[in-house]
Structures are given as C-alpha cells and as structure tokens.
C-alpha cells in the first residue's frame, strides 16, 4: 500500500464522517429557560430619559394609588413635577424627531398618526381634569396616555437602533 493509497483512505474516511450529529439528550430544556428577549443596543441619552419618564410615571401611579393621602389637585401635582416631566419629554421628543426620518414612509405616517391620537387624548383629559382635578378615573387615563406617548418614543428609538446596528454589521 502506497502513500497515495493512505491519502485516498484518509480522504474517503473524512468524507464519510457525519457532519450532523444529534445530541444524546434534549438540550432545549436547558436552553429555553435562558432565553430572554433579544438584546438590543440602546442610545444612552434616550435610555436615561426613558428611565426618568418611568420614574415620573411611577410617581404619578403612586399618587393615583393613594389619592386620599395626597389630595392636592392635579395642577399642584403638575407644578411639582412639571419641570422634570417637561425636560424628560423634551429629551425623548428630540431623540424621536432625530430618528423618525430613518423609518420608512408608511411606518412614519402611522407613528405620527398614533402620536397625534395620543396627544389629542392627553389634551382632552387635561381639559377634563381642569374641571374634575381629583377624578381618579381621569388621572388614571391621563397617566395611561402619557405612558403610551413614552412607549411610542421607545418603539421608534428601539426600531431605528436595530436597523442602524444591522446596517453597521
């Protein structure tokens, strides 16, 4: 038997080895519990702003959960939180406006339409709260509308972040 024969045997042996081999045990049962939502890189400033927004919403929720302990009207709630809320919303809005052009036209239109609906709801609820400042229902709806607004910003920022990270790879 020559060296070439050995080489041929080696080639044949390697070619015959199975590439697909199934594990002897079910690995999925160990994998599944470790799957969290796909991680998405985020922009620092909007993340901070969203964190602040979450804090503000939490404060509002605390207020809603204990209206009898904090019987001040909405205007006073607003006055104590307005500056922070306005700053947070401004930061988010700036990031949102910066990222919105990166979305395709159809999605952009849809997002703008949804935002207009949410803003209109906030304005209506704000007007109603002028007349009934201690209404728990109105306050709850108002907090919900704010939450939707921030979620909308978050969606735009997250989606465009995914796209930009895909383009950079």
């Amino acid at each position: 038997m020559t060296f070439r024969d050995n080489e041929r045997r080696l080639e044949e042996g390697l070619a015959a080895l199975p590439r697909r081999i199934h594990p002897n045990r079910n690995l999925w049962s160990d994998i599944a519990p470790r799957l969290e939502r796909p991680s998405v890189p985020r922009v620092e400033v909007p993340r901070v702003a969203l964190g602040m927004a979450a804090g503000l919403l939490l404060g509002l929720a605390v207020f809603l959960a204990a209206p009898r302990w904090h019987p001040e009207p909405l205007t006073s709630v607003h006055s104590s939180r307005d500056a922070s809320l306005i700053r947070t919303r401004a930061a988010l809005l700036e990031a949102y406006r910066e990222r919105l052009p990166q979305m395709d036209a159809l999605t952009r239109t849809r997002v703008q339409r949804d935002l207009a609906v949410v803003r209109a709801a906030e304005k209506d609820l704000g007007d109603a709260l002028q007349n009934s400042p201690n209404s728990e229902v109105l306050l709850s709806l108002y907090a919900g509308a704010l939450h939707q607004e921030f979620n909308l910003y978050d969606t735009v920022l997250t989606t465009t972040e995914i796209n930009s990270s895909r383009n950079s790879t």
Binding site: E7, L10, G13, I21, H22, I31, P38, S165, R166
Partner: protein, 194 residues
C-alpha cells in the same frame, strides 16, 4: 484541499434559509421562542456535530451547543440572512467552543452512541470509529483546523478568522493534522496484517 468536494453536507450548510426557516427567523427576532425552538430542532444536528468534533467530548459539546444557541438568540436581530444560516450558526458555535474552551483535561474519544445516532449518513458509509478517535486525539489547534477546513469545507481564511489565528498557521495545522492521520492509517494497516 478537496476533501469535501461533492459532500452533501457542504451543500446543506451553504443553502440559504428556505421560506419556512425565514419565517421562523423573523418571528424569533421578535421574541417568539416557539419559532426559535423550530430553528433549534432544524439545526441542532449541524451545530452539535461541529461542537462535538471541535471539542472531542460529548459533555463539552452539549455545553457549547447550548451556549451557541443562546448566543444565536441574542444575536438574531443582527442576522440579515445574507450569509447562510448554517455558516452563521457555525461561526457562533466555534466562538462558543473557544469561549467555553476550558476543556484542558485529556479528551476522550467521541462517543460511539452519538455517531450511531447520526441520522444523515447511510449505514454503508459508516466511518470507522478509529478515525474519530484519531481526530479527537489531535491537539486543539490542529483538530480545530482539520474539522473546519478538512471536514466542513471552510476556507483557511474563514477558519483563521474564526479561530483567531493567522492563515498560514491554519495551513500548517492542517498539514500537521493530516500527517498525523496518515501515520495513524499506516499504523492501523500494519496492525491489520497477519
């Protein structure tokens, strides 16, 4: 190196995701675990096979395969589908093996039961297990290159990039590994003589 020319496994590896798999990928990207499980079921054989050959140990291959799929889940938003899913998963699997590569203890031969359970190879092509053992006994670097280039048909450039070595080193490893295997075959032949 023409070891894998005409190898159906190579063709399978390079095939772009079909429609159903594309759908699973898109759904898994949005956090759909069921879709990802379909992908896992469809691809686990290819990933585990590579991990088993790279590590030479079923227990290490189990761990590396799990880590590879978890890493793939996390990286899925960045997978555009331009490269073949199989290649993408293999790259992650190699990284997982290297990251997980604290398998410095002497490795044992690839388990015979794992080979017997391999579904895609007709029985008449069943390779001799001693070649499996010979590959598993190679030093890490030589074995890694032999598996990636000699078995799975990746280029030296790809193997070098994935393993973090120079292309020339990859070629040297492959040459050395083949010489060792040829010696092994020659010795086996002599042992078989009456």
């Amino acid at each position: 190196m023409a070891v894998n020319d005409g190898n159906p496994q190579r063709e399978d590896r390079d095939t772009p995701p079909d429609g159903l798999e594309r759908l699973w990928i898109d759904r898994a990207r949005t956090g759909d675990r069921t879709a990802f499980e379909h992908l896992y079921r469809h691809r686990v054989g290819a990933v585990y096979g590579l991990c088993l050959r790279l590590t030479g140990r079923p227990d290490q291959a189990d761990d590396a395969t799990q880590e590879a799929f978890i890493a793939a889940w996390r990286a899925l938003p960045g997978f555009e589908g331009r490269s073949a899913l199989g290649t993408w998963l293999h790259r992650i699997a190699v990284n997982s093996v290297l990251q997980h590569g604290r398998y410095r203890s002497r490795r044992v031969a690839v388990s015979a039961s794992a080979i017997e359970n391999a579904p895609d190879i007709p029985s008449e092509h069943e390779p001799p297990l001693d070649l499996e053992a010979a590959i598993a006994s190679l030093p890490d670097g030589a074995r890694h290159v032999l598996v990636l280039v000699g078995l799975y048909g990746y280029t030296h450039g790809e193997a070098a990039q994935w393993l973090g070595i120079a292309e020339g080193t990859s070629k040297a490893h492959l040459h050395w590994a083949r010489q060792r295997l040829l010696m092994f075959i020659e010795r086996s032949r002599c042992d078989d003589l009456p």
